[in-house]
Every structure is written in C-alpha cells, then in structure tokens.
Symmetry: C2
Subunit: 192 residues, 2 copies
Amino acid sequence: MNKTTLDAANGLYPSLTTIVGAMVEGKANFLTIAHVGIMNHGAPQYLSIGLGRSHYTNIGIHESGVFSINVPSRELVVKTDYVGLVSGKNTDKSDVFELFQGKTGAPLIAECPVVMECRVERVVEFSTHEVFVGEIVETYADETVLSGGKIDVAKLDPLLFDMSSVKYWSLGQEVAPCWRIGKEMKRAVRGE
Amino acid sequence: MNKTTLDAANGLYPSLTTIVGAMVEGKANFLTIAHVGIMNHGAPQYLSIGLGRSHYTNIGIHESGVFSINVPSRELVVKTDYVGLVSGKNTDKSDVFELFQGKTGAPLIAECPVVMECRVERVVEFSTHEVFVGEIVETYADETVLSGGKIDVAKLDPLLFDMSSVKYWSLGQEVAPCWRIGKEMKRAVRGE
C-alpha cells in the first residue's frame, strides 16, 4: 500500500460554491459557502449549508427561518469572493447584488443563474458549526442556463471550491453517462 | 425578473462522486454516492453521505458504525458506475477493487487516490433517506495526487456528478484564488 496518511484531512473537494442569503436585522445579507450538502433525492428536497457559529448570517436564518442558496457563474467570481471576505457585522452587503422577490422573503440574487429559496427544516448542531438543513421551496433559473427545461451545468459554468489550493475552479467536460458506462461490466460480471 | 421557476428542483450540482464502502454481513460492499456534504471545517472533521433507506450498505454501516468514503479518479469511471448499478443484496462486490486495511475495519479501496475512513457520529433521519454523518478517522492519499503534502485536485482528476444531464463530468481549470480575487472590490467599497 503506497498511500500516505494525511491525518483527518477533508478530501471531499471540490465542492460547489454558493452564496447564501438571509435577511438579518432587516437587511439582506450574503455569505459565500461551499460547505454544502445534498441530504436526499426526492420531494421534499433537502439541502444543507454548514456555517461557523460566529457568522452574522446565522442570526438572520434563525430569526426568519428561511434562506436562499444562490449559485453563481464564473463571471460572478469577484462579487462571490467579496461577500466571503467581509462580514455583515461591519459591512452592509445589501446592495452588492440586484435582488428579486420569491415566496419566503429570503433575499434572492438576480445575477445568479440558479437560485433556490429554502425553509429551515432542522438545524444540526456541531461544536463550532451550525448545519442548516433547508427544504427547497422554489428554484429559479435563467433561461440561458436551461436545456430542455433542466439546468445545464455546462451553461451554468459554476465555481467549484477547493480548500487545498484555496482556489475556485471551473467545470470541465462530460466524461461518461451515469448508470450506463458500467453496464458492460455488469453484463461481463454476470456472464451475459 | 427573467427567471423560470423549476418547482423545487435541486440545483446543487455538480457534486463530488464518491464510492462509499462498508462491511455488510461479513463482506466488503461498495456503493456510488454523490449526495455528500461537508458539515464543518476543523477538527474533528465531519462529512455526510445521504443514502436511500433501501440500500444494502446501510445495514453494514449500522452494524459496524464505520464506513469509508473513497474518491475515484476519472480513469476509474467504469468500476465507479458499476458499483452504483448493482446492489449488494444480489451481487457480491467484495472483489471489484483491491482493498487495504486502515484503523477502523471499514473496507478501503486501493485504486482510489483519496480514501477517508469514518466513524458514524450521528444519523440524520429523513423519510426516505438516512444521512450518515461521519467523523474522519484517517485520510489516505496516493503520492501521485499530492502537491506540497496536500491533495492536488487537478492531479486527483475527480468525477463530478450532475443529476440533470445524468453524467459524470471532469474538473476544469483554476479560475481565481479564494479570499483574494475579491480584495480589490473590498478596497473600492471601503474607499481605500
């Protein structure tokens, strides 16, 4: 076994870069979060965002019970990084983006091609972090990132985050179809 | 607002493709899972995997309290897809990969350049899914995917999963440094 041990390093990268939005003390606030999760597949659909307890945004999510997960394209990288650099505690971020209204009152970012508004379903508590599990209430997408009525990740051109390089990365090319590229092996294993 | 509504479509893609391993009824079993999550940043480090309740693997994770998260490279796409196509209920997947031993007894995949062995910290229950939150016990990586002692995602060449296209995708190029590309905007906003 030629492997090196890296203690308990988190090797679950890249992850998707999102901008989480919430109303905090009457103002729209935004925070860049790539420590996200998909809880299930189905309806209702549940997603998670892991936020350090010290973040200003947490206050607003607790107050309102709603938040948005906005998915920026590569071209939005500067604003995306900016809202991850400064805290709502001392900087008003309510005018960084053009906003639109949804069903829940959570602030939604017009410049993001994919936007999900979520209602808090539960909070999973860790010593330093709060993981907010949200049920998606409604998803909005720009026509320009759709193909056949579905989100087209190539058109979306999302920002992927990696903690080792401390960089944003782009999406590459299609590799293979899921639940198909392994079918030949399945037939071979079964002697078909 | 030119956005189309997509009901509660999950727009949190692409996500990282992993192969989850567990001992089930005395045999190593593996399952492809891209519905993963990062709960926090720090030590202990907690990750989540969302598994439908009907999966065979769940039995083994409950029995043993441990599992592995193995991150395949693009070149492992056929085997990765295969273990997501067939169930351990009727197919022995214990000899699909070369395995190695870690600290917990969870089966670890030698062909995967990054492997994390995890101990179940809690189970977050949903109606159709169980989300296993694991604390990383130890992370293993091939020297070939390291740069400066850290995992290099470009060398890793992971498989990203997207549910809309039902395809695996590759990682693209570096876009920009995190917590730096937005600094000019920060200075401008502050009038510095």
